[in-house]
Amino acid sequence: MIPSSDNLRDKSTAAPPPTSIWLGFVSFGAVIAAQVYSILTSPAEGDMGHLQKIMYVHVPAAWMTFLSFFVVLVFSVKYLWQRRENDDLIAASAAEVGATFNGLTLMLGMIWGRPAWGVWWVWDARLTSTLVLFLIFVGYLALRAFTEDAQRKALWSAAVGAIGALNVPIVYMSVKWWRTLHQPPSSPSTLDPRYTMGLRLNAIAMLLVMVYFIRKRYEIARLERAAEHLAEAAAMGGR
């Protein structure tokens, strides 16, 4: 029943191919270009004025949060299925990057909410479920931090990742009901076509950043794991 630790040890002592530095340049260049484009082209919004510009980071960051949680789900299930160490490392990298985007989404949302709504926080369905998602990410990362054994860490966090992702739609639905049954939700604003192009470009740029971050974090995780395996092998009598 218990897979031997040998199948963990093979392959991964080799260092992975380094992440292309060009991916980094291109993704950050794309962010700068998309920001410049959207700031220059979008007119000041009627109610919000230039406060609206925060949307070009906030909304793509929120999309990337959900996308990276989806990556965590896919690679967690894949790990449980096939038990390949690299899948675990990809899921963990995506969780770290996702938590970062999630924190960014919440911070920017609050910075926007203070002048727009007059309060830092409202118990709105989307806000609350994004916050709960952040807490689930935090739990996932804490579990990894508090678990030493590599195989245990991988199996447990895969289970927590998959079950946590399963909960996301339920959390969203329950918070939405909780709100709508008690007081009307904030009115959804339809987006003016003058702002959509900027938003799309920024989303693509942010996607590139996300891919770069996950790829880079994965590379570091592989190197760390390879170093652990080498140290282990040396301690076992040197190979």
Partner: protein, 228 residues
């Protein structure tokens, strides 16, 4: 009759856990006392206005249940670990899920008894009027406890074997329980009041769905989790 053998395994593990608790009593008594203590503290923090307390009663009872209950789950695996009993338990023939089901059943009995005490204390301390629809209210409480126990037992099977288990379990468990907390408190409040919006039924369905989804998911995941 494979399922009959499985059911006997489940019962044996649950019985063992309940017997251990009955003989020692220290675990149950301290957890139940903590639940009541939390209720008293909440009453002091929110009171003394009788109306304010009555409105806060449902939330206070559920929070006291969560905070005290979370201590029970780690215990159920910790007693195995302390006496080195988990390894032999895993060596026994038969499917692994029966261990989870047994622990689940044991914890369910434990938590149901604890909740009975906490709810009774809440009714007395917060001046709650027992509604006509009290059987539905009991149903809501039971469904909420099942959700709490399913995820609590599952996460404790990991957290109890990690470093920093005291903080890790609530950190993992509480965000996951947000739907249970919302559904149980809102449905209970509706049943205690007039339920003019007829919302209790929808929340009860949500609780049932939640319990079923995570019962199935944790049963599948437990086999992976326990082997490491």
């Amino acid at each position: 009759m494979a399922w009959r053998d499985d059911w006997r395994r489940v019962r044996a593990i649950a019985k063992k856990d309940v017997t251990t608790e009955l003989r020692a009593k220290a675990g149950f008594n301290s957890v139940a006392s903590l639940g009541v203590t939390i209720l008293i503290l909440l009453g002091l923090a929110l009171g003394p206005d009788a109306e304010a307390l009555r409105n806060a009663a449902v939330g206070a009872v559920w929070l006291a249940t969560l905070f005290a209950g979370v201590l029970a789950f780690n215990r159920s695996f910790q007693v195995e670990l302390e006496s080195g009993a988990l390894e032999p338990l895993l060596q026994y023939p038969g499917p692994r899920w029966t261990i989870f089901a047994g622990k689940l059943l044991g914890n369910l009995i434990f938590l149901t008894l604890m909740v009975t005490i906490v709810v009774a204390a809440g009714v007395v301390l917060f001046g709650v009027r027992i509604p006509d629809r009290w059987p539905s209210l009991l149903g809501v409480i039971l469904l909420g406890v099942v959700g709490l126990v399913v995820l609590g037992t599952f996460y404790a099977s990991m957290a109890s074997r990690s470093r920093a288990r005291e903080v890790l379990l609530p950190l993992l468990l509480f965000p996951m329980l947000v739907p249970v907390l919302l559904a149980a408190t809102t449905a209970s409040k509706a049943l205690l009041g007039a339920d003019v919006m007829h919302e209790a039924g929808a929340w009860i369905r949500l609780l049932v769905a939640y319990d079923l989804v995570f019962l199935i998911a944790t049963f599948i995941a437990f086999e992976h989790v326990i082997e490491a």
